[in-house]
C-alpha cells in the first residue's frame, strides 16, 4: 500500500513540476496546515472556505502539508491506485488504514490519501473546472476527517454559534431547523463558527471552526441577502454561500462548547429550550455525523458519547417568530454558564 501511496505522490510532484506550486497556509484547531496547489486551477475551489483561517506567515514548519492537483489543468493523471487498496477497510470500502496510510476514495470521484510517515496528504480530482458546488463548500473534508484520527479531534456534523460565554452546537437531520437556527443567530449578532461541519476537541469540549461556507436551501438564502454572498449557480440543488462583508467579522475561529441544541420546528409562535437527556443528545449528534463520513467506528461513537455526557443538551422548539431565536440561545448560554 505504501508503495502505491508513494507512486501517487510522485504524480503530484510531476504536476507541480509542470505548472508550478502555489502555497496557502491555514491555522486549523491550532495546527498549521500548508496547502500546496499544483497550478492555480484549484485555488478558487479549495481556498475560499478556509479564508477565515488564513495565515500569512508561511515561514513556520507545517504540521500537515496537503498537496492538491487535478488532471485537466496540469496534464498529469496519476497512475491508478490498485483496487485492493481502494476496496479494503474494516468499516467500508472507502477507507483504509495501514502503516500510517489512509486512503479515501469518495463517491464524487475524488481520491484523498493521508500519509503519516511524511505528515503529508494528497488530494486529487479529475477536473478543477468541473468541481461540484459542495466540493467548494466543504473542501478536503475526507482529509480533515482522516487527519483527526491523529489528534483528539472529531469532525462533527453540526452548526455552531456563540458569544463571549462560549458556544453551542446545533445538530439535527435535514429539515429540523439547523440552518434556520444558525442563520437567525447570525442575524441576531452571535458569532458563527460553521454551518455544516466543525471540529470538536472532545476532551476540552472546544469547538473549532472549519469552513466559512454555508449550504442553504435557496429560499433560506433568499431571505437573508444581507448575510451571504452567492457562490454557485441557481441550477444547483442548494445555495453555496460565503458570509457577506458586513458580517464577516462575526466568523469565529472557535469557542468553548457550553451546550448542544437539537432544533425541531413546532409551528407555534414561541421558541423555547427544553432540557433533554444525554441519550437524545447522542441520537441527535452521532448518526448524522457517522453516516455521512466513511471510517467511523465504535471509537468515534465513544468519543461523541463522552462529549455529550459532559455538555447539557436542549430540545430547541423553534417558533414562527425567528427573531426570538437568538435570545433563547443566549439565554441557554447564560443559564449553563451561570451568568
Amino acid at each position: 500500500m505504501l508503495d502505491s501511496i508513494d507512486q501517487f505522490g510522485a504524480s503530484f510532484d510531476a504536476a507541480a513540476a509542470h505548472v508550478g506550486v502555489i502555497e496557502r497556509n491555514i491555522l486549523l484547531a491550532g495546527y498549521r496546515i500548508r496547502v500546496e496547489f499544483a497550478g492555480p486551477a484549484l485555488v478558487p475551489v479549495i481556498q475560499p472556505a478556509f479564508d477565515h483561517l488564513a495565515e500569512h506567515d508561511g515561514g513556520q514548519a507545517a504540521d500537515l502539508s496537503v498537496c492538491v492537483w487535478d488532471a485537466t489543468s496540469t496534464g498529469v493523471r496519476p497512475l491508478p491506485l490498485p483496487a485492493d487498496v481502494l476496496h479494503r477497510g474494516e468499516t467500508g470500502p472507502r477507507y483504509h488504514g495501514e502503516d500510517g496510510g489512509i486512503v479515501v476514495h469518495a463517491a464524487d470521484a475524488t481520491l484523498s490519501v493521508l500519509d503519516a510517515r511524511r505528515k503529508t496528504a494528497l488530494h486529487y480530482l479529475p477536473d478543477a473546472n468541473n468541481a461540484l458546488w459542495y466540493q467548494k463548500a466543504t473542501p478536503l473534508k475526507d482529509i480533515v476527517h482522516a487527519w483527526t484520527s491523529w489528534h483528539d479531534l472529531q469532525l462533527i456534523h453540526a452548526a455552531a454559534v456563540g458569544n463571549h460565554d462560549g458556544g453551542v452546537l446545533i445538530a439535527g437531520v435535514a429539515g429540523s431547523g439547523k440552518s434556520t437556527t444558525s442563520l437567525a443567530c447570525l442575524r441576531g449578532g452571535l458569532a458563527y463558527a460553521g454551518d455544516d461541519y466543525v471540529l470538536v476537541d472532545i476532551e476540552r469540549a472546544f469547538v473549532h471552526s472549519l469552513y466559512s461556507s454555508a449550504k442553504l436551501e435557496w429560499d433560506n438564502f433568499d431571505r437573508h441577502p444581507e448575510l451571504f454572498l452567492p457562490a454557485n449557480s441557481r441550477a444547483d440543488p442548494k445555495a453555496l454561500a460565503f458570509l457577506a462583508r458586513d458580517v464577516r467579522d462575526r466568523m469565529a475561529r472557535g469557542f468553548p462548547l457550553r451546550a448542544l441544541l437539537l432544533p425541531t420546528i413546532t409551528g407555534r409562535e414561541e421558541t423555547r429550550a427544553i432540557p433533554t437527556t444525554t441519550a437524545r443528545a447522542l441520537l441527535g449528534l452521532a448518526p448524522s455525523t457517522m453516516l455521512q463520513m466513511p471510517g467511523h467506528n465504535q471509537q468515534s461513537l465513544g468519543a461523541m458519547a463522552r462529549l455529550v455526557d459532559g455538555v447539557p443538551a436542549f430540545q430547541l422548539e423553534l417558533g414562527t417568530d425567528l427573531s426570538a431565536i437568538p435570545d433563547v440561545v443566549e439565554a441557554v448560554l447564560a443559564d449553563v454558564t451561570g451568568r
Binding site: 491508478p80 491506485l81 468499516t91
Partner: protein
C-alpha cells in the same frame, strides 16, 4: 447453547445515561434502547445466549426466570431482525454475572425492554464507490 453477539464492526453502540444508542452503519438505521433492553444489550456485549441473558436479568431484578423468558426472547429476536446482533462464533464466551448484577432486593424495578428505531438518515448513506472501481484500480482512462 446458541449465543449471540453485537454485529461489530458494522453496528456500534454506547450506553449513555442508562440508555443505549446504537447505529447500524450498513443500513443507516439507528436505535434507542431503554428499559430492561439496556441490560439485555449489556449482557450480549461479550456474547450470550437467551438463557444466560434471562438468568442475568432475573438475578438483577429479583424476578423468576419464567416471568422474563418471553420478554427477553422476543426482544432478542427484534435485535436479530434489525441486524444489531448475530449468532456468535462457537468459541465465544458467555456473559458471567458481575458485581453490577447484584440482586436488587426489589430496589431496581423491571420495565419492559424497548427498541426505538429511526430511519430518517438512511438516505444519507454515501453511494458505494466500489462500483466505480474495477480491478484496474482508480483513476484509469476508459478505453476508446
Amino acid at each position: 447453547m446458541d449465543r449471540f453477539e453485537v454485529s461489530r464492526p458494522e453496528v456500534v453502540g454506547s450506553v449513555v445515561d442508562g440508555e443505549v444508542v446504537a447505529i447500524n452503519l450498513d443500513t443507516g438505521s439507528y436505535y434507542n434502547i431503554s428499559g430492561a433492553g439496556v441490560d439485555v444489550w449489556t449482557a450480549i456485549e461479550p456474547a450470550a445466549s437467551a438463557h444466560e441473558v434471562t438468568a442475568r436479568l432475573a438475578h438483577r431484578f429479583g424476578l423468576p426466570v419464567d416471568e422474563l423468558a418471553t420478554a427477553v426472547t422476543s426482544f432478542m429476536e427484534e435485535l436479530l431482525a434489525e441486524g444489531l446482533i448475530r449468532p456468535a462464533d462457537a468459541g465465544a464466551t458467555g456473559a458471567e454475572l458481575s458485581a453490577d448484577d447484584a440482586p436488587s432486593d426489589g430496589q431496581v424495578a423491571f420495565s419492559p425492554p424497548v427498541l426505538e428505531r429511526f430511519t430518517d438518515m438512511e438516505d444519507l448513506l454515501l453511494v458505494d464507490p466500489v462500483h466505480d472501481v474495477t480491478d484496474r484500480g482508480w483513476p484509469h482512462v476508459e478505453a476508446g
